[in-house]
């Protein structure tokens, strides 16, 4: 299945892109996805411990199953306001 990853701010600058599509196996959850991306991208690994994940604009606090077409945002600590 295919999900779209979105990154912002410093992670976007480090990776040099704001979004991309990932092909992932059925049954992948958000925890597995982050681990996979951290293994591949040193910039994701560097913030792995502070990244929070959102799926389809909703914060997720524990790993959730991903579905085909999901939007997954990897969010470094927010600093609005």
């Amino acid at each position: 299945m295919t999900v779209t990853i979105h990154v912002f701010a410093s992670l976007r600058e480090r990776l040099g892109k704001s979004s991309w599509k990932e092909s992932i196996p059925e049954g992948t959850d958000t925890g597995m996805l982050v681990a996979m991306l951290a293994g591949r991208e040193v910039d994701v690994a560097a913030v792995q411990s502070v990244i929070r994940v959102a799926v389809n604009d909703q914060w997720v606090s524990t790993p959730v199953q991903l579905n085909d077409g999901d939007d997954v945002a990897l969010l470094t600590p927010v600093s609005g306001g």
Partner: protein
């Protein structure tokens, strides 16, 4: 007999890359014809410790930021006796002294206005996906809260 439903205050949330209008927010809130309006404005501070800021810039995960802002406004409306709630955030460059965020609450009585506004800015800073970048006078830049160790 139909149930008496809790009042849901009109809510206005928005993200824009242009200066925020205090007049527009006040107009929206004053239409509630309540007894109090509290507006908090978060502005670009010039001096932080020994560092001088030239400007801030903001980036948002816009669709999620809007839904989080709506969610927080709804929660404030449930916790306090509010009549209208407005949350506006600016993206892009925000020069010193200008507002990056305006949070406004209209209420019947003044207490809930202050309390709800305080709740909304505190929660916005924790859960709304928007990021602030410092641009210092010495030319350096820094995303606030970055934990990069390289």
């Amino acid at each position: 007999m139909s149930p008496i439903l809790p009042f849901t205050p009109p809510i206005h949330v928005g993200i824009q890359d242009s200066p925020l209008s205090l007049d527009d927010l006040w107009h929206f809130l004053s239409e509630a014809q309540g007894g109090g309006i509290a507006i908090f404005g978060g502005t670009t501070r010039r001096v932080t410790g020994d560092r001088i800021t030239q400007e801030l810039s903001y980036e948002a995960h816009e669709s999620m930021a809007l839904s989080e802002m709506r969610r927080l406004a709804g929660e404030a409306g449930e916790r306090w006796d509010t009549l209208r709630i407005g949350i506006l955030h600016r993206t892009g460059v925000v020069p010193v002294s200008q507002a990056s965020v305006l949070i406004g609450v209209a209420t019947r009585h003044r207490g809930p206005a202050f309390e709800a506004a305080r709740f909304l800015i505190d929660e916005l800073k924790v859960s709304v996906p928007i990021w602030k970048k410092e641009h210092y006078e010495d030319g350096s830049t820094e995303w606030q809260g970055d934990t990069w160790v390289r």
